[in-house]
Amino acid sequence: MNISKNSNLIIWATLIVFSFLLPLFPVGPYTVHICILILTYIIATSSLRTIFISGQASVGHAAFMGVGAYTSAILSLRLGWTPWITMLVGALAAMALATMSGYLFCRLRAIYFSMVTLFFGIAVEAVMRTMVGLTGGRSGLVGFPRLGVINPFGLGEINFATSKVPYYYLLLILTLLTLLALYRLEKSRAGMNWMAIAQSPLVASSVGISETKFRVLSFAIGCFFAGLAGSAYAHYNGVLSTSSFALLPSIYLVIYMLLGGVGNFAGPIIGVVVLVAIPELFRSLKEFTPFVFGGIMLLVVYLMPQGLVGLFKSAKS
């Protein structure tokens, strides 16, 4: 047990060091772009897993990313606030919406919860589409400020405008903080309560765990980080379109998570890395690339019932 815990630590440490050193290798800006995408999806998918482990299979997660992204973009564009603050406000807005809707949706369980989140997600996207004056509608929102030049503590200037690398480090730090927070939460008493509710809501409430309170808690926390991912990505990308937060992106998040394996904390990370990176390797196939994606999915479903995590586990032992 101790040995496996140590080897786990070593693997995590190696990965973190490697990801910090990555921009020092001779990689093109496109590779950095893909890495930023991967980091954004890791935040979103890991936060989705936090909702899943409390027995709530949400299929509208991308909508909360959209709420964060649009709140942050509109605040920085209309009120001229600095993106560093609006990013946090965006995440809080997603969390507030999740808390309110979470209380409403709490009465539904299992498949009915999935359905209501699915429709809530597409309703939120449709609302964004109707508010053309504010969000730009289908044609998208452009012209909101990106992260400029900063000089933290007088240590030296970091220029976000000239290169993608500072964004990469920003996303990397956000990802690590998110993963740390989610890991600590999962291992805390709240995390235990979530799993108890997922196993049996009836038994959980009979031993004094408030089902409503903890389900709303996990939904709100998950959506906070989704909003964070959305707003960070918005200020990186500089362009927002409502279609990036519709049904299909939500489904993709579920795919990443299920494919990696819900049962393990590393599942979403492995799922995102494999499903974003491998199709990128086959980019030269152009319109045939989705076949690679679908092929990986079918392969995992037929051969690895535990998800990709199962493969890594059996390789380690």
Partner: protein, 285 residues
């Protein structure tokens, strides 16, 4: 008056197409407990196969429609046997298979026919005049075909032995198997039937609107909305919920625009889920 009549025809048309797709979705869900997210894509594939039979094999509109239903129905049998049967009872994995099917079939449609705008030749071109109202022939005919199909399906489920077996399966799969019903055969036939109906809906719809690779996404959402409003497991309720949602989609965009009508329709579904999760006509709690 004319706009009113056309709106009614559009409402009936949309309702019947939605019901055709949703009936298959509900059939698969109640018989196999599979949430088939690929059903919207099957509808899209139906339209593309219909186009393919017409454009590459020179079949007329009727022939193409029939062959498309047959091809996609057989494809449904194949899917049930090799993609869904091995994972029976494992909700996550059947969900994953259906999501993988979405991605693969969309890419396949994109590669073979192409994403650019195409239409299937209509079964009956032109317009007709009834009591001084101008109505497009294809819409009326499409509605009548859909009506025939739906009555046929209702008869099949209510009156025949196969329909009885299907209802037995929906009630209790194990008990049905113990009574000597070949559960694999019945669910295979039901899956094929559901796919054929979705393909017919796709073929019919592709003669009215231009088709594209993503036409199934919106239809999947509509099908799920219908099933929720009616209640999971209630096939008869689909007719009422289909009319409600079809007419909302036909009338609301006239007043508040496409996106606004989406908001209203989806909020209606959310409210129904919150107040009556079992749907308007569902029995199960």
């Amino acid at each position: 008056m004319e706009i009113f009549a056309q709106t009614v025809v559009n409402g009936l048309l949309l309702s019947s197409i939605y019901i055709l797709v949703a009936v298959g979705f509900a059939l698969i869900f109640s018989l196999m407990q599979v949430l088939n997210f690929a059903h919207g894509v099957i509808y899209m594939v139906g339209a593309y196969v219909c186009y393919y039979w017409g454009a590459y094999f020179g079949l007329g509109p009727w022939g193409a429609l029939l062959m498309s239903a047959l091809t996609v129905g057989l494809f449904g049998l194949f899917l049930e046997k090799f993609c869904f049967r091995p994972f029976h009872g494992d909700f996550n994995r059947t969900l994953m298979v259906s999501l993988a099917l979405i991605i693969i079939l969309q890419a396949a449609a994109d590669v073979t026919v192409g994403g650019y705008v195409k239409r299937v030749p209509t079964v009956l071109p032109g317009v007709m005049n009834i009591w001084g109202l101008t109505l497009s022939n294809e819409r009326v005919v499409t509605f009548i075909i859909a009506l025939f199909l739906l009555s046929g399906l209702t008869l099949l489920i209510q009156k025949t032995k196969l329909g009885q077996q299907m209802r037995a399966l929906a009630q209790d799969r194990d008990a049905a198997a113990l009574q000597g019903i070949n559960v694999h055969f019945v669910s295979g036939v039901a899956f094929g039937l559901a796919c054929a109906l979705a393909a017919l809906a796709g073929g019919l719809m592709a003669s009215i609107i231009s088709m594209n690779v993503h036409m199934g996404d919106a239809m999947l959402v509509k099908a799920i909305a219908l099933v929720i409003v009616a209640g999971m497991g209630s096939i008869g309720g689909l007719f009422i919920s289909g009319l409600i949602i079809g007419f909302m989609d036909a009338t609301l965009p006239l007043f508040i625009g496409g996106a606004g009508s989406d908001v209203v329709a989806f909020c209606l579904v959310i409210i129904i889920l919150l107040i009556r999760p079992q749907g308007l006509f569902g029995i199960e709690v």
